[in-house]
């Protein structure tokens, strides 16, 4: 400290400089009162920062002079304690001085409160509550100090009068002078001008979730965080004042003890201040450098602009710009022509800053764009943009739990198939895919590009080649003008008119948004539109745009029947709810677990499950109102699974209606055909098992790792050397096979496809001889999205080897004498790995258990189930499916069998039961 003292001019002391800083506090305070409006405190400060550089400079001067006054006053104390063995002031003077320190803090904290930003409002609450808890006079004192809620008048009075007058008197009495020395004044002036020019006084943007007190109370905030009974801190403050009093007035041990206590306290408090300033973020949680959001939630407090005396805009331009969310936001002063927004996202309502970050109080382009979020809505910035407290925090918290973000099913099934995981149902997350195993690398090379967290890194519309992009993946739309302006900019970077055409962020989610990811793997998007991927190359593609379509420049699709819902004009979002698509906050293993909508929710017989408008969730109510106007009095169809309201449906006069979300077409919903519901024979068959007209299948896939193949790490979005390569067999569009989903003891026949009949050359990756070829024969459940009005015919299940899982081929019912039996002639040769036809799930009239499908609850038919199905198949080999006897069999098959003619030869495995069947 002695060394420090030497840096001061010979006649200056910390005390004398403190007096000089105080004179600047008064001077700048008087000037600051001119632009400050206590009725609109936050707005007026943001206005002066943005529009009045000299006022902004004066505010900085006021801020820095008061901070330095505090610092130098404390140094002055320390200096005295350090140099003198005792101070020995008169008791009354010592008391006033100790009280003076308290008043300095009160003067400063009231100044902090007067900026009325998010930090100040919470600090005001804390100060009020703490004061209120002083025994006896607490409530009166708190009100006398801070006044009525929402008003800053009384605080202003105390700041500029009560505390300032008191301090002035004490300082004059203590220093025995009014004016600082000319040299101190000049030194203080130079320091303050420099600080005030380069570093502005803080002003919270009211968007960042972190709230902190002023730096000198951050240590106190840390202490309060640990105190369940914060009222004890009042005693603690009283004790500090007492120590200051004793140290200034007492002698001997009491003085020494209090001096030591103050020193220890100062060191500890300094440490707590550092913790509070640098290691506490949102909700006062620990936050350390290098962790996600550290810069945003911790260092944002230090973001401060320099004063720009020649702003990038004129005062007249600045005046025209609207005040947004109580703050004058400089972004909209320059960006006046930008349009294309929905009402909710109009910059006049939320500014640019709410989404794009940056610095809302900047006066130059460089300042404004510093740390700006160019593409808000990516999941890594969504909490700072779409998900801030005032906007969509609950949705943004949910989205990362959605399967479209976690890819849990995709990852777990892949690892299961690679033999790295015992179950395909393990909950996982693409962000945890940090390993380097064969499956990890396979996933990174070939699969995991399609997750919502994959950031959109360039501006431009969502196309069929887009992947990820967080909120933007679904909600970003470029209208024709915006699209053309953006394209012009791509050709000529100097053409910046695209800046005026902002993309629309809206509820107009189209099938194109889903297409990029969902045209792959199960190919739901393409199947729904009636397109089936072929193995044709671009050169082989016939010049027939009606029956052929090129996707992503290389993938050739052929026309197949479209889904009936697509033909009617229904988009993906017309069936799928916001909770299905953006998650409901829970993690699910597979898509069928996350999805809730089932055919029967709309196509029901009897009375539907309904939700009245008043019981909609807030999200559903808002979306429904935005899309369709008033919701009052409406009753919405509700999913059987997890009871989610379908907001584009309603029930009126015993009829259910659906309105398409984007195009507003209305349909009266049809009940399922009586064929579907009248008999017990088909009651455990899912709608899609019958009504799917086709599904894409592929067989004969081989996976091999090639260390020299130019590859791609889809997680890091960078090119790598060495990659897994997939050699595919043939792609077919055919009726899906059928399998059994067994859940909670309930069986349901569902469509399945040859999901993974493949070989994996593990040896090519692991370079170990014993890790040779891994062969898998797994079928996968599928929601084909190729719904046809008519269900598949009886024979397509009962006489179809492919439907039963035997693979393609000819299934014939052969009668020899009094015995009938089926004969199967497969199309494909047996695979040498398991001696089953290449496309089969099971052997003819056999079954398999264990690792048979990509789910643990989906199995091929048991032999008994196959026999039951084929028994009907035997009948159908002679009787037409529309015949009277077959229709009768739907009602009571046993009865029909009982009365069969002697010409009816049943399969050899049929044994009549005790009733004589």
């Amino acid at each position: 400290m002695k060394a420090n003292i030497k840096i001061l001019p010979p006649r200056s002391t910390y005390g004398s400089l403190s007096l000089a800083f105080f004179s600047f506090v008064l001077l700048s305070g008087i000037l600051l009162a001119i632009p400050f409006n206590v009725d609109k405190a936050y707005t007026s400060i943001s206005e002066l920062v943005v529009m009045n550089p000299w006022a902004s400079f004066t505010r900085n001067l006021h801020y820095w002079s008061s901070q330095l006054f505090l610092i130098f006053s404390l140094l002055h104390f320390y200096d005295h304690f350090h140099k003198k063995s005792q101070i020995g002031l008169k008791k009354a003077l010592a008391f006033r001085l100790a009280l003076g320190v308290l008043i300095i803090f009160l003067a400063m904290i009231t100044g902090f409160l007067l900026k009325a930003d998010a930090d100040s409002l919470q600090a005001r609450q804390i100060l009020f509550t703490l004061t209120e808890r002083i025994p006896l006079i607490g409530k009166i004192l708190a009100f006398s100090l801070l006044g009525k809620a929402g008003s800053f008048e009384l605080i202003y009075v105390h700041h500029i009068a009560t505390f300032t007058i008191f301090l002035t008197i004490i300082i004059i009495e203590h220093a025995k002078r009014i004016w600082p020395s000319a040299l101190d004044f000049i030194i203080a002036f130079l320091i303050l001008v420099t600080l005030s020019y380069f570093w502005s006084a803080p002003l919270h943007d009211n968007l960042n979730p972190t709230v902190k007190g002023p730096w000198y109370f951050v240590g106190f905030q840390e202490i309060l965080h640990w105190l369940s009974h914060p009222e004890w801190s009042i005693l603690f403050i009283a004790l500090l004042v007492l120590l200051l009093y004793i140290v200034n007035s007492a002698k001997g041990k009491a003085m020494f003890f209090s001096k030591r206590s103050l020193l220890i306290f100062s060191i500890l408090y300094g440490l707590l201040t550092l913790i509070g300033l640098f290691f506490r973020g949102e909700n006062w949680q620990w936050s350390f450098p290098g962790t996600k959001d550290y810069n945003y939630t911790v260092l944002n407090n230090f973001k401060t602009e320099s004063v720009d005396f020649s702003p990038a805009f004129t005062q007249a331009e600045a005046q025209k710009a609207a005040v947004i969310l109580d703050r004058k936001e400089s972004c909209v002063i320059c960006h006046t022509q930008t349009h294309g927004f929905t009402d909710a996202h109009n910059p006049k309502a939320i500014g640019c800053f709410s989404c794009h970050g940056g610095n809302p109080f900047a006066t130059s382009k460089a300042q404004a764009h510093e740390e700006m979020i160019l593409i808000p809505g990516n999941l890594d910035n969504s909490r700072q943009s779409c998900g801030t407290t005032q906007c969509h925090p609950n949705i943004v918290d949910r989205v990362p739990t959605s399967l479209m973000s976690t890819l849990s099913g995709m990852i777990s099934v892949d690892k299961y198939v690679f033999g790295e995981q015992k179950s395909p149902n393990t909950l996982t997350n693409v962000n945890q895919l940090t390993g380097h195993s064969a499956a990890d690398v396979h996933l990174k090379n070939l699969c995991v590009r399609c997750h919502l967290g994959n950031p959109k890194t360039e501006t431009g519309p969502v196309t069929e080649e887009s992947r990820g992009g967080g909120c933007l993946a679904c909600h970003l739309n470029y209208d024709a003008k915006a699209d053309s302006a953006w394209k012009r900019h791509q050709i000529d970077q100097n053409d910046t008119t695209y800046l005026n055409y902002h993309a629309t962020i809206s509820l107009q989610v189209t099938d194109n948004h889903c297409f990029g990811c969902h045209s792959r793997s199960a190919r739901i998007s393409t199947s729904y539109q009636g397109w089936h991927e072929t193995t044709l190359t671009t050169a082989e593609m016939p010049r027939d745009s009606i029956h052929y379509r090129l996707v992503e420049h290389t993938r050739v699709f052929k026309k197949e029947p479209t889904d009936v819902h697509h033909t009617l004009g229904l988009l993906c979002i017309d069936c799928h709810t916001s909770y299905e698509l953006m998650g409901d906050g829970k993690h699910y293993a597979h898509e069928e677990n996350q999805e809730v909508v089932q055919c029967k929710d709309c196509h029901f017989s009897g009375k539907p499950l309904l939700t009245p408008a008043s019981k909609l969730t807030d999200e559903s109510a808002i979306i429904s109102s935005l899309r369709f106007g008033s919701i009052t009095g409406k009753k919405y169809l509700t999913t059987e699974k997890r009871h989610q309201a379908l907001i584009n449906t309603w029930y009126q006069n015993d009829t259910a209606f659906l309105i398409t979300k984007n195009t507003k077409k209305v349909f009266a919903m049809k009940a399922p055909d009586k064929e579907c519901t009248r008999d017990k024979a088909h009651e455990n068959i899912s709608c899609s098992a019958c009504h799917s007209s086709w599904a894409p299948t592929c067989i004969g896939c081989h996976n091999q790792y090639d260390p020299n193949e130019p590859g791609y790490d889809m997680l890091k979005n960078k090119e790598v050397k060495g990659s897994w390569v997939e050699y595919t067999g043939s792609y077919l569009a055919q009726l899906p096979s059928l399998g059994m989903r067994i859940e909670n003891g309930k069986k349901e026949v569902i469509p399945v496809i040859q999901g993974m009949i493949l070989s994996i050359d593990l040896g090519s990756f692991n370079k170990k001889l014993h890790d040779s070829l891994l062969f898998r024969r797994l079928y996968a459940p599928i929601a084909p999205h190729t719904t046809a009005k008519e269900g598949r015919d009886c024979k397509s299940c009962h006489n179809n080897p492919s439907a039963l899982g035997y693979g393609s081929g000819k299934l014939t019912y052969v009668i020899k004498g009094n015995t009938g039996s089926f004969v199967f002639d497969p199309v494909y040769e047996n695979n040498k790995n398991d001696n089953l036809p290449e496309d089969a799930w099971i052997g003819f009239m056999q079954t398999r258990t264990g690792m048979v499908s990509t789910r643990t609850n989906v199995k091929p038919f048991t032999i008994e189930e196959q026999q039951k199905i084929l028994l009907v198949g035997a009948c159908l080999s002679c009787h037409k499916e529309n015949s009277k006897v077959m229709k009768q069999s739907l009602n009571n098959f046993s009865e029909v069998l009982k009365h069969r003619s002697s010409r009816c030869i049943l399969p050899h495995w049929f044994t009549p039961d005790k009733s004589g069947n």
């Binding site: 409002l121 919470q122 804390i126 009166i140 006062w284 918290d397 969730t617």
Partner: protein, 132 residues
């Protein structure tokens, strides 16, 4: 003379004390009156039946299937305004206290539940009135 001096000083001390007491008394009374004048007996807000958790001014309104509970939004630790719900928890931004949707603290430093107010809905369910 000295007796007079003492008497005078005592008188002045007593008079000063009395004036001081009057001032303190006046301060107490006027402030109490003013606080009472400003104290609202009840507050009424528009009611959103679809929103499970609404943050309105200094209040949190929870609408859970016909059952409406109104809490003070002031954290019981130090009075900060709680303005967000995350994963079914009401979180105080100042010191990180957390409450469940019943208003009970689940993470400190707060240990007292949020203050509850009696809430009544208007007959058309469009307004909610809290007795404060």
């Amino acid at each position: 003379m000295s007796g007079n001096k003492h008497t005078r000083r005592n008188f002045l001390k007593i008079a000063g004390g009395l004036i001081g007491l009057t001032a303190v008394g006046a301060w107490g009374e006027l402030t109490k009156n003013q606080m009472s004048l400003l104290n609202k007996r009840s507050v009424t807000f528009p009611f959103n039946p679809n929103k499970e958790i609404s943050f309105v001014d200094d209040y949190i309104i929870r609408n859970n299937d016909e059952e409406i509970t109104a809490f003070s939004a002031h954290c019981t630790h130090l009075g900060c305004i709680i303005n967000k719900e995350q994963n079914g928890k009401l979180i105080c931004p100042c010191h990180g206290s957390e409450y469940n949707l019943e208003g009970d603290p689940v993470k400190g430093p707060a240990y007292k539940p949020l203050k509850k107010y009696q809430a009544t809905l208007s007959s058309d369910h469009k307004q909610i009135t809290l007795k404060t």
